[in-house]
Symmetry: C2
Subunit: 310 residues, 2 copies
């Protein structure tokens, strides 16, 4: 479930998408209306495709999803859940007669990686989602770490710069997300262009619109050294943060997922160098950092579906 669209898919145990439909998330003014429409869409899809009795359960990936309670809690980007707690899993079960579980997008991505992707066969790993923000899904001993309140794993909001850090949308400052998200990279680009007026860069030719992380990637691909240094800076901060994550749960792998992960080696190289330089010796050389093997939209859908197998 995104702020705009709710794709609905039937997925089999091997991760094949069999059929699908969708809703516009924002077309409804209350959680009840949305749940009613979602239930109807699911029931219609089951009927139209002769799937009665063949669906094991429903898994949902939602913003601010509380896995313990099956609720969406005060999700800023969902019009009918901005200020309230919506027990969406229970409502969908009532409309469809099927068990329903939910979790947030990053946890869904982690389940997707474990069952169908780069973490197949792993019991201890962390997925870091690098998009507009930075999210995380943590798996320890084969289980999602959701915490006592269902909201564990906000690694985009660990503090990486403790003095004069960048202001974060969460109201605090110095959060990982302000440096290592797509918007964080764009912010670094603007800072670097101001900070090093003597350095040439094709990023200086962009005008009439804000620089994006995609611009930085494209410039790096052409050998632009300032652009490469922007990724070096970003990767170093990620690597430093990863050293602390490793000291926490000693994962077999940290998997990078989401738009910014497409920067590939421009990010991986400085991350690995920083981990190698800084990680506590007992962990040295043990944790892999790898890119997701699932396509963006697919991973969230596959991950959400994985909830239904549990």
């Amino acid at each position: 479930m995104g702020g705009i669209n709710t794709p609905i898919r039937v997925i089999d145990a091997r991760g094949n998408i069999l059929c699908g439909s969708h809703l516009f998330t924002g077309d409804y003014s209350t959680g009840e209306e949305y749940a009613e429409a979602l239930g109807n869409a699911i029931n219609e899809m089951i009927e139209k495709n002769d799937l009665q009795g063949k669906i094991k359960g429903i898994g949902m990936g939602t913003p601010n999803g509380n896995m313990n309670e099956g609720t969406i809690e005060k999700a800023a980007n969902i019009p009918w859940a901005k200020t309230v707690v919506v027990p969406i899993a229970r409502m969908v079960t009532e409309k469809t007669g099927l068990p329903c579980r939910l979790t947030n997008d990053a946890n869904a991505a982690a389940l997707g990686e474990m069952i169908y992707g780069a973490a197949k066969g792993m019991k201890d790993f962390i997925v870091i989602t690098l998009g507009t923000g930075v999210g995380s899904g943590i798996v320890s001993n084969g289980q999602l770490v959701v915490g006592h309140d269902g909201f564990a794993g906000e690694l985009g909001h660990v503090t990486v710069v403790r003095h004069n850090g960048r202001l974060c949308g969460c109201g605090r400052s110095g959060c990982l997300e302000t440096y290592a998200s797509a918007t964080g990279v764009a912010r670094t680009a603007r800072e670097f262009l101001d900070l090093f007026p003597e350095r040439e860069s094709e990023l200086r030719t962009i005008s009439f619109r804000p620089i994006t992380s995609k611009d930085v990637f494209e410039a790096a691909e052409k050998g632009d050294e300032l652009a490469i240094d922007i990724f070096n800076f970003t990767g170093k901060i990620l690597g430093t943060a990863f050293c602390d994550f490793i000291a926490f749960s000693s994962p077999q792998a940290i998997i990078l997922f989401g738009g910014l992960a497409q920067a590939g080696n421009y990010l991986l190289k400085p991350i690995l160098e920083e981990i190698d330089r800084h990680v506590l010796s007992v962990y040295k050389g043990k944790t892999k950092v790898i890119l997701s093997q699932l396509k963006g939209a697919e991973a969230a859908l596959l991950g959400a579906s994985a909830l239904a197998w549990e």
Copy 2:
């Protein structure tokens, strides 16, 4: 198992200590000799107390204990395991015929708190051991977080000061342990006395021996403001680190354990203030910070015994 002493106890399911003996850890030159002596001591104790057939298993708390493998790996303070990996659990099983599991001291303390102490009934909590160093035992979803290699939970070595941090015994700098351990508090005391020559403090009267964290506590108890500020500084650093731990696993409680935890409210107050000021809003007011309810030596023994019930 400590570097000097190995206390051995028979403990029942309610946490009562029934009988005991001990070994001197350092009296042996190889792991084999130590395991032989330990096996003999256990067998003798069982025979002397008519406990044949009544022992369910053996649990050990050891330095650098790898829970996944049952090994002690390069433990600096164990003379016969300084540079080698000793498969001690298997060796003890061979000598006694009893199943044997081990983990490090902080994890043993976490199990002790869960089964007999302050974390009774909790599924998500973190024990922070504040002694000569800082250790941690993390429980998520009712299970110890041990990681893919058995060495997760080195929270004494997350980096809390990223620039010009204090040098740490691990070879890096800025680790939590360099500020929040008993030795870290003593270090802060020396720094504060140098840094604020104008401030009066009874800590200035200590001479001919190094200041200890106990001195700082005793001065604080007498109302010494510099001593109280030393704990404020320490608690603030712990609180900042705890905000990141909470973002990771959203624990119901963080439990302070070990010698320095006896400073009680001198530490708790600044910790709670810092968490309240700095934690991500979704976690606000949710995580308790409490003192261990187990006596020092007891908790490690009870926790180790808890391994045998699993």
